[in-house]
């Protein structure tokens, strides 16, 4: 390990270059980043695009820029100790054999070494960027398609709500939409889940859904009169904020409502998002004139919010291509309907989709270059077993 000054343009600056040739290195990062002169920053060197991803060991250069340090000990100190050792090897008649420095804390001061002696094995156990995933622009854009797909689903739901509140759609058409969505959802589930047979479908899903629909129908009068005393403005404001919370906290990678046989419990944030969407649906439903309206819109909203993610998750798991086609057609359909509704909303939705699909992946890839994850013997140990309370 050697220390030397780097930046001759500014003689007041002292740069530490740490050259590590270690067995447990993880990634090759080749040089290029030029530091801004005023700021102390840790940075890595971005990978050249031609290099293969994966882990292989090589020299890793870490540049730290520090401020002036005139009272630092003269950096001869590590070299003097090296010189002493070299002298020991060169001088044939020197009787003193200085013992090697050991990384131990017992026994007091080690003879021949100061307490601030920095050995060559300093930071030997440091592992950098062990868990960092190297991302490809195309892959990130394809992954962001699931986010924009869900945004379009929510936009469609809001569309249906708007049309229902304006009485453009009447209750019978809404009920038709509900039934067709249900049937479509079942067909997709049947098609995409190989493990599922018709009997499981009937027992598990069909019965539960029928109970659910009956319960909704019975409770529809309650929803109708729930928010009668609240003014409409508050309702619209609350609904918009709840939908924003729902979109923020939604679990885009998996489905909160699980297929039978799922392993993990849903996280807290995804439960909050489901609740937010349900409450938003209830608020909207309470503004409608008749019981049948309320039942139809509640059924529609809950179908989409509770079972929509499950369906899209099954499609994604079954075939990525199908998922991609489905998402793109959904986006096109949504944009067309929103355009028919209002021009400004169309522009907003389009810019949001472009932001999510193009701008965000690019931004992520750009700042990923500066990722600097340090692991070493000082880390808290992770338990390899689950704690069952």
């Amino acid at each position: 390990m050697f220390w030397r000054t780097l930046n001759e343009r500014n003689p007041n600056r002292v740069a530490l270059r740490l050259a590590l040739h270690r067995r447990r290195l993880t990634q090759v990062l080749s040089a290029a980043a030029v530091p801004a002169p005023q700021h102390r920053r840790f940075f890595l060197f971005p990978v050249s695009r031609t290099q293969k991803l994966g882990r292989f060991s090589s020299a890793l250069h870490l540049r730290w820029l520090l401020g002036t340090d005139p009272e630092a000990q003269p950096r001869k100190k590590p070299e003097t100790s090296k010189l002493l050792v070299m002298d020991h090897h060169l001088a044939s008649d020197s009787p003193q054999v200085r013992p090697r420095w050991r990384k131990v804390a017992y026994g007091g001061m080690q003879p021949g070494f100061d307490d601030n002696h920095t050995d060559e094995s300093f930071l030997e156990g440091m592992v950098m960027n062990a868990n960092v995933v190297r991302r490809d622009m195309l892959k990130v854009m394809l992954d962001s398609v699931s986010i924009s797909e869900y945004l379009c689903i929510v936009a469609l739901v809001v569309l249906v709500w708007t049309y229902t509140l304006e009485s453009t759609i009447d209750e019978s058409r809404l009920l038709c939409i509900d039934v067709s969505l249900l049937v479509l959802g079942f067909l997709i589930l049947l098609f995409t889940q190989e493990k599922i047979s018709l009997s499981i479908l009937v027992h598990h899903y069909f019965l539960n859904i029928s109970f659910f629909i009956m319960g909704l129908y019975v409770l529809a009068p309650i929803y109708q009169t729930l928010t009668r005393s609240i003014s409409s403005d508050s309702i619209w404001a609350l609904t918009v904020s709840l939908l924003v919370i729902h979109l923020f906290l939604h679990d885009y990678s998996e489905s909160t409502v699980n297929a039978p046989g799922a392993l993990k419990n849903p996280a807290l944030t995804s439960c909050i998002s489901v609740n937010a969407s349900v409450v938003a649906s209830v608020f909207i439903a309470s503004r409608l004139p008749s019981r049948l309206h309320v039942f139809a819109i509640m059924l529609f909203s809950l179908q989409v919010f509770l079972f929509g993610p499950l369906v899209t998750y099954c499609i994604k798991k079954y075939s990525f291509r199908l998922h991609l086609c489905f998402s793109i057609s959904l986006m096109v359909v949504t944009l067309r309907f929103v355009y028919m509704l209002h021009c400004l909303l169309f522009v907003l939705l389009l810019s949001l989709l472009v932001f999510v699909n193009v701008v965000c992946p690019y931004w992520l890839i750009r700042i990923q270059e500066y990722k600097f994850e340090i692991n070493g013997p000082w880390d808290e140990a992770k338990l390899c077993f689950a704690i069952t309370d």
């Binding site: 005023q38 700021h39 005139p70 009272e71 440091m126």
Partner: protein, 442 residues
């Protein structure tokens, strides 16, 4: 060689009447420095009724500044209002060096900041390991960068801790000294009559929290009890995970083989230790484990997890290391049980007396103080430019904070001049003049 005598102010949120690693370190180090002829003053916050100035053994003066602890024994982080009282103490006691302890202590950071503003030399000792990636650690590391941007010297308690501190704060490694803790071997002596080896007793004394590996204990104890019918456990300590241990006892019907003592007061730790043969430490992270030293001083063989600075603490024949995995720990305990006949507690105790000694720690700290005093004292502009390198926005913020601190200090100099603060005369206590005889009998 007649060394210059320093006047040291130790500052930290953690001190007596609390017991812990940092508290004991400050106390023992102060006592040994007093014996070497230096003057030591400790500054900490008030504990319940204990507020004001107290004197401890050997003339150690402790200022319990009347602030209440805010969260987790730390005082409330007020940036500038602590300047007047710190300034008064520094001038009154004619301090030459300020020594702060523990990165988690807000009082330490503030005192170091004010001392640097006033031009005193500053030494910082870090006692713990921290990570880099969670929100709490990121903030703590930023605050540490601020404090250590302008520190004279730094001390760490183990080599792993030095690597961790250097990475977190960006200090040059030559500025960091490694001076480990030690143990009071006079207090931790092995039992005169050894407990019988027909039944092997494994002792665990720790806070029962996640960090100290209480979940590992829950997995390890039933396995060991099953494999070795002659092994008994004594678990001392309290904490949120105690419930899990009690449940484990009930589930495997180990009530007669696992004894839970609850919280053990510091004075009784020795009596619990000498009733056992093996000491088990299962922590998930440790910069330097003093509990292991206490156990080794009492003649117990140690089994510990290989984390942090623990591999550096004891030689290989006094400790058996295992990965923090229940299977590996059970194997390590088996090895310890097989090694037990070759272990002689008195021999181990005598070896510990050679290996760890608080007077040695004090002498090495004295070298650090001498080195700190040799550092040139820079003028304000040069010092301020170091803070700018702490980050894009943070650097400018720290710069502003130090400027305001400097202006406040100047205001105080006008308003409450240093000449008006009465300086404390040195009290020579009778036993200090007999320090030669005391050192001989040590």
């Amino acid at each position: 060689m007649d060394r210059k005598k320093h006047r040291i102010m130790m500052v930290s949120d953690f001190f007596y009447p609390n017991f812990g690693g940092v508290e004991n370190h400050i106390y023992y180090l102060s006592q040994c420095l007093l014996k070497l002829g230096h003057k030591v003053v400790v500054v900490t916050h008030a504990y319940e009724n204990r507020s004001g100035v107290r004197y401890m053994t050997g003339g150690l003066k402790v200022y319990y500044v009347p602030w209440r602890p805010f969260v987790m024994q730390n005082s409330f982080p007020t940036l500038f209002p602590s300047l007047p009282i710190i300034r008064t103490i520094l001038i009154r006691e004619r301090i030459t060096i300020v020594h702060g302890h523990q990165a988690f202590s807000t009082l330490c950071h503030e005192a170091l900041m004010h001392s640097r503003t006033m031009g005193y030399r500053v030494v910082f000792t870090d006692h713990s390991l921290y990570g880099f990636s969670d929100a709490g650690s990121i903030h703590m590391n930023k605050v540490l960068q601020f404090t250590l941007a302008d520190v004279s010297q730094a001390i760490c308690v183990s080599h792993t801790s030095k690597e961790n501190t250097v990475l977190r704060s960006g200090l040059p490694p030559e500025k960091v000294f490694v001076i480990p803790n030690a143990v009071d071997t006079a207090m931790f002596k092995p039992a005169v009559v050894q407990p019988s080896r027909s039944e092997i007793v494994i002792v665990v004394i720790s806070r029962l929290v996640y960090r100290k590996g209480a979940d590992l204990l829950v997995e390890v104890i039933p396995d060991v009890c099953r494999l070795h019918p002659n092994v008994r456990f004594i678990v001392g300590g309290d904490g949120p995970k105690r419930v899990r241990l009690e449940e484990m006892r009930e589930k495997h019907s180990l009530q007669d083989r696992v004894e839970m003592l609850g919280a053990v007061p510091h004075a009784q730790v020795r009596s619990v230790l000498i009733s056992g043969h093996i000491f088990l430490n299962s922590s998930l992270t440790e910069a330097f484990c003093i509990a292991i030293l206490e156990a080794a001083s009492c003649g117990l063989l140690t089994v510990s997890t290989r984390v942090g600075g623990v591999p550096e603490v004891l030689p290989d024949d006094m400790i058996i290391l295992a990965e923090p995995d229940p299977g590996d720990m059970v194997l390590a305990i088996e090895r310890a049980i097989s090694m037990l006949p070759k272990v002689d507690p008195q021999v181990m105790h005598h070896r510990m007396r050679e290996l760890y000694n608080w007077h040695d720690v004090a002498k090495r700290t004295e070298i650090v103080y001498d080195r700190a005093l040799k550092c040139p004292n820079q003028n304000l502009l040069e010092r301020l430019s170091r803070y700018l390198y702490c980050g894009v926005w943070a650097g400018k913020l720290f710069f502003l904070v130090m400027i305001v601190d400097f202006l406040f200090w100047r205001l105080l100099e006008l308003w409450q001049p240093a000449e008006d603060i009465e300086e404390m005369p040195d009290l020579t206590l009778p036993h200090i003049s007999n320090k030669e005889t005391l050192q001989e009998t040590e």
